[in-house]
Symmetry: C2
Subunit: 340 residues, 2 copies
DNA sequence: ACAGAACGAGACAGCGATGACACTAGCACT
DNA sequence: AGTGCTAGTGTCATCGCTGTCTCGTTCTGT
């Protein structure tokens, strides 16, 4: 088993009878090289299976990075990986490779992987911020590594960001329920202290207020307990003396939990989820949908722009949501319930 | 806005009043350095926000890569990204970063991204092979970049691989249906010419044969048409003069399509899917389940081993599947059908 | 007290590539 | 003939870092 070593520019140069610089020229195509020299070089390169070393190249060229890092909570969450897919596609278009790193949604994890990625000299850092504070990246930004926050704006850090119209989405969903006659509308989410949920709850309350309904703490289940299952939260809610006639689930996990909990009920409450999910149509679940892939694409595009022009103004992008009616959100309140 | 440049070893050395090599020693911890020198260096490094350049480091150290590449069809497929999640976790444990690249399941895409990744000098290449032939990577393998094939073995290439017990899984599912009294069992998949499906179909036929049932081409819908929707294929199948009493769906897409197609039927056929999916329990769909995350982990572990020891024997790993009963696969054939 | 080990730190080269600059040959023009 | 240009190529230094070698200092044992 011949364990050879990888050929370098010099090996190719020697075989082709030219200088290393000329081989470099052939590959970078920035300079003129005589056609037959090109041919000699190319054939030598092919014979040696030469492949330019991008690491050495970007070192020499002074940091022109070829990779971009994406810091996400975990790859198993459909929302996250759909964003990742969008990022990957957009970056591929511009010739960048994507390094993904997961944090398990922990603050230490975030700092740790950010550190690793920066040591890898990624050209930009895309992230779904977890911690309360991303100021530890401010220095890096000044050193020329742009940071793009996705889904939640970064805290204490100058960074571009791409977020959803969370308030408007929740507002619209709540209004839709109200217009069907619902007055007792629950909002359930877990975790609740993240930016997106805070925004959505605000939209939810605003919609209630606009209809003259006082928000009722009984129907706001804003949890921050990774251990508690959404399903049991919903079950618990539905055995109270006074039950809501409609539920808004703050994210897809809670929504699926709510589906599980209410599937067998004789008169299930109306249900609207936030975030679309694969089998939502099969299950007939109405949701506040949006386009996570597009979020990723936009974020990647911002990153590419920032790498080219580090000194532009930072951009805050808000992407729209839209209510997708599939049945579960259009159920009217049960008669006995609607007249309390 | 002060656009500074990133500090290097030399900058730190100058500020700390030592040589660059000593700073290097402090960071690599392979050599002895006096405690107060360490402290001086560290404080200088912190002041300059120094962060060692891993690219330069691995260049100098001669290729000791810090990244591993994963070539996948597309990030949107739940199976693929779950594998990716497993890979990422395992790699993180060993200090490698993961670069993901997608091919849109095209052969050219595969070759293109493999090229990019190899130029990035990834330490290993993990891939879900698409093409008929991965021999173009043989040279790279000899040059020291191990290749690990996932889900499907590589063709014409010495590579470790991690695959599922496809035949056994399909065999078990088919036998289970037979034992409930089914005789007319359809197998639907798209695409059909990939390794996994060929194996599964083989298992399916073997099970039929073992029960003395002749395979019937009417009930094998082996498509290779990305455009045709699984749902319509199933609908079409169910309006034939003679309908099957049970369906095996070759992958999760087909399975979800089958669910859509049969949901409203008064007497739906029994249904078993291949690959588990998020809401399968809610929908009561029996599946041949397996553990894609574990596949990713195992593949990553193999990659790490190979990077450490390039000359071991190649390993072929086969991971088990298991039949998960949730109702849809346990339906007995309709009476009028079972006695034909 | 002195040889030899052990420790701590610097000088230098070089990983694989490219930017800056220099140089030659050939041609067109005055 | 002399000048200026261009096309095509080579030399050298260097990107940020570390392996190897070297050297001065302190410590150890007899």
């Amino acid at each position: 088993m011949a364990v050879q070593t990888r050929a370098t520019l010099h090996d190719v140069a020697r075989l082709a009878g030219v200088s290393a610089k000329t081989v470099s020229r052939v590959y970078s195509q920035r300079d003129l090289v005589a056609p037959d020299t090109v041919e000699r070089v190319m054939s030598a390169a092919k014979r040696l299976r030469f492949r330019p070393n991008l690491l050495a190249q970007s070192l020499r060229r002074g940091g022109g990075a070829t990779t971009v890092g994406f810091i996400m909570g975990e790859l198993l969450n459909p929302f996250y990986y759909t964003v990742a897919a969008g990022i990957e596609r957009e970056l591929a278009l511009h010739g960048f490779a994507l390094i993904v790193a997961t944090t398990d949604d922990s603050v230490e994890g975030e700092a740790r992987v950010a550190d690793t990625l920066l040591s890898q000299r990624v050209g930009a850092l895309l992230m779904i911020p977890v911690g309360e504070d991303q100021s530890y990246l401010e220095g890096e930004r000044q050193l020329g590594t742009p940071v793009i926050a996705i889904d939640r704006p970064a805290r204490d850090l100058v960074a571009d960001s791409v977020v959803l119209a969370n308030r408007a989405g929740a507002y619209e969903a709540t209004r839709a329920l109200i217009s069907r006659g619902h007055r007792r509308i629950a909002y359930i989410c877990n975790p609740a202290s993240v930016y997106t949920q805070v925004e959505r709850v605000t939209g939810y309350r605003a919609a209630l207020a606009s209809a003259g309904i006082d928000p009722d703490p009984r129907w706001e289940r804003l949890l921050d307990d990774p251990a508690s299952s959404p399903e049991s939260v919903v079950r618990d809610l539905m055995v109270q003396p006074s039950v809501p006639t409609a539920i808004i689930a703050g994210n897809n996990r809670v929504c699926i939990g709510a589906v599980r909990a209410t599937l067998e009920m004789p008169a299930p409450p109306a249900l609207i989820g936030f975030d679309d999910f694969e089998t939502a149509d099969v299950l007939g679940i109405s949701v506040v949908g949006h386009d996570p892939m597009e979020m990723g694409r936009r974020a990647a595009r911002l990153a590419v722009e920032r790498m080219r022009d580090p000194i532009g103004f930072t951009t805050q992008l808000e992407l729209p949501t839209r209510l997708i009616a599939r049945g579960s959100g259009e159920r009217a309140p049960a008669l006995s319930e609607s007249s309390r």
